[in-house]
Amino acid sequence: MIKYKSLLPIIYIIFLMLPIYWLINMSFKTTNEILGVFSLWPLEFTLENYRTIFTDPTWYNGYFNSIIYVAMNTVISVTVALPAAYAFSRYNFLGDKHLFFWLLTNRMAPAAVFALPFFQLYSSVGLFDTHIAVALAHCLFNIPLAVWILEGFMSGVPKELDETAFLDGYSFSRFFGKIFIPTIASGIGVTMFFTFMYSWVELLLAKTLTSVAAKPIAATMTRTASASGYELGLLAAAGALTIIPGALVIYFVRNHIAKGFALGRV
């Protein structure tokens, strides 16, 4: 009986893993083999694709650039969202619910809408092709998300905790740093994961706002395809490496994400 029951999830997992397996499979093949024969595993096993990526600066700089602006974005988003979320969860003020909803509407427009104004604006103030340009642009959708998630976690903390701290003599800033932030640490972890992920996978704004100095890995991948024919093996290796940071982050916050789901905000 148990065998039949486990059949469905097994099929589902195979279905999910198949494209990833195929990507990794391709990354160890030569382009000729990919185009020439159908094989379930590399017939001519090669590490040449990975070697190219780790030695060619146009490739590995793509990773550095991506990681730099994603990290910047994550730090900015969480830093800005923490006080905002605290205000939304603790205070009533005129139009607070409307403002909270309006924040979310920022996520409702496709990035393409903002690509042109950002490009024009950043070009004219000299921010074009810098890491901070992409990091700031990504704040557009990541800060509302971070506020939304953090507000959920903060509202789960009773207001009495704040009051007890004030009665104990804590000043607001000391309470926020020493008591409140440790209390919602898992919420901050979940928020960082989501801001990281959205910024990491976003292509359009990152590609539009950079040319050479801050070119992200995803953009590098799309451009290589057209520049020197089809280097499928190389692209597959780049793709496989792009998955790794995301997988690592998920691994570290997996327990907190479960908590986030339980709180109903993620």
């Binding site: 007890t164 004030f166 009665l167 003599g169 000391r174």
Partner: protein, 355 residues
């Protein structure tokens, strides 16, 4: 420390939570705020703590007006009904936190935390996190944190309400002892009349945002100044009925009639309200002057050696609480007895008529 509320009013969103209140609490003793849910106990405490500002009026500590003073600057500690501890701090750090903020030296902190932990039987738990403790231990931690800083005013907002029966009794016995030597003024909110009686000290009865009466606990129980105060301070609720006084006789709902003497005899003839506490209404006669109350049994609850009998008496629903097991059947007509001299008499506005 003496604490005084001078003409304090609190309104929120056009809704009055506390009507004009003047209250001076017993210095260095136990003060119980007794009232049902939504009677304003918590709001009153929050006003004293400074967590909320009064809409009108002033709060005075000793001879100082502290109405606008920040919470941090007041010598106040508070324990909530829900167990509030810092989840990211160990029990030791939780208890030590007010001292750390105050800049007390490490060795002094260690000494004070250990002595208070010993007092509250928390010594084996000092290195654990609050989430790893039972409810009783969590509340002990909160109490320890409130005690350790030697605040002059300690506010306890139904601290035992979320605990199970055994723990509640245990802590209730300990509480007055804990504060006995500290000289702190303790304000204790509860909705249970029995708890107020057990804690002693002074009691303020609250009803719908008004302080009805304040004074020595036993005194308030014995002679509530009006029907509301008597209702708040009686569990099961006090039995009431309309009575008519004519000459030497008191007519109870056209059903019973009894002779009255003493001070009551000089009362003007007319309508009054009679209040009978449930334990003054018994299924057996104590003396020949006892007034007979004939009623129909609605429910009988027997708990161990006590019986609570709910009857329909005329057009009123009455409760009798007595020692012994009295297994009456539902619908049975029975006689209960009360002594008219133990009853409280109110005028039609509900004010007590002193005898």
């Amino acid at each position: 420390m003496s604490i005084e509320l001078k003409g304090v009013v609190k309104t929120k969103d056009a809704e009055t939570h506390i009507y004009e209140t003047n209250l001076k609490l017993l210095k260095g003793g136990f003060n119980v705020l007794l009232g049902t849910t939504l009677s304003g106990k918590t709001t009153l405490m929050r006003l004293m703590a400074g967590l909320e500002k009064p809409t009108q009026g002033e709060v005075w500590f000793n001879e100082e007006n502290v109405t606008g003073m920040a919470v941090q600057k007041r010598s106040v500690s508070m324990v909530y009904q829900a167990f509030v501890n810092y989840p990211s701090h160990s029990v030791y750090d939780n208890i030590a936190s007010p001292l750390k903020v105050a800049g007390v030296s490490k060795s002094e902190i260690k000494k004070r935390v250990e002595s208070i932990a010993d007092l509250l039987k928390l010594t084996p738990m000092l290195n654990r996190m609050p989430a790893e403790l039972s409810g009783g231990q969590q509340q002990r931690t909160a109490l320890a944190r409130a005690l350790v800083k030697n605040a002059e005013l300690v506010l306890l907002d139904e601290p035992l309400a979320n605990l199970d029966y055994k723990l509640r009794e245990e802590l209730r016995d300990e509480l007055p002892k804990l504060f006995a030597g500290s000289g702190a003024t303790v304000v204790y909110a509860t909705s249970e009349p029995m708890e107020a009686l057990m804690l002693g000290g002074h009691t303020a009865t609250l009803h719908e945002g008004r302080v009805i009466q304040y004074g020595e606990t036993a005194e308030i129980y014995r002679s509530p100044n009006n029907l509301t105060s008597a209702t708040v301070f009686s569990h099961p609720p006090i039995n009431t009925t309309k009575v008519i006084k004519k000459g030497n006789e008191l007519f109870i709902q056209d059903i019973s009639c009894c002779k009255i003497d003493g001070g009551l005899k000089n009362l003007a003839d007319g309508d009054y309200i009679l209040g009978v506490r449930p334990h003054h209404l018994t299924p057996f006669s104590t003396d020949e002057n006892a007034v007979r109350v004939k009623g129909v049994v609605k429910v009988t609850e027997i708990s161990g050696s006590d019986s609570v009998i709910h009857i329909i008496f005329g057009d009123c629903s009455w409760v009798s609480e007595s020692h012994g097991i009295h297994p009456y059947k539902v619908g049975e007509t029975i006689d209960l007895f009360m002594n008219i001299n133990q009853c409280l008499l109110f005028d039609v506005q509900g004010d007590l008529i002193p005898v």
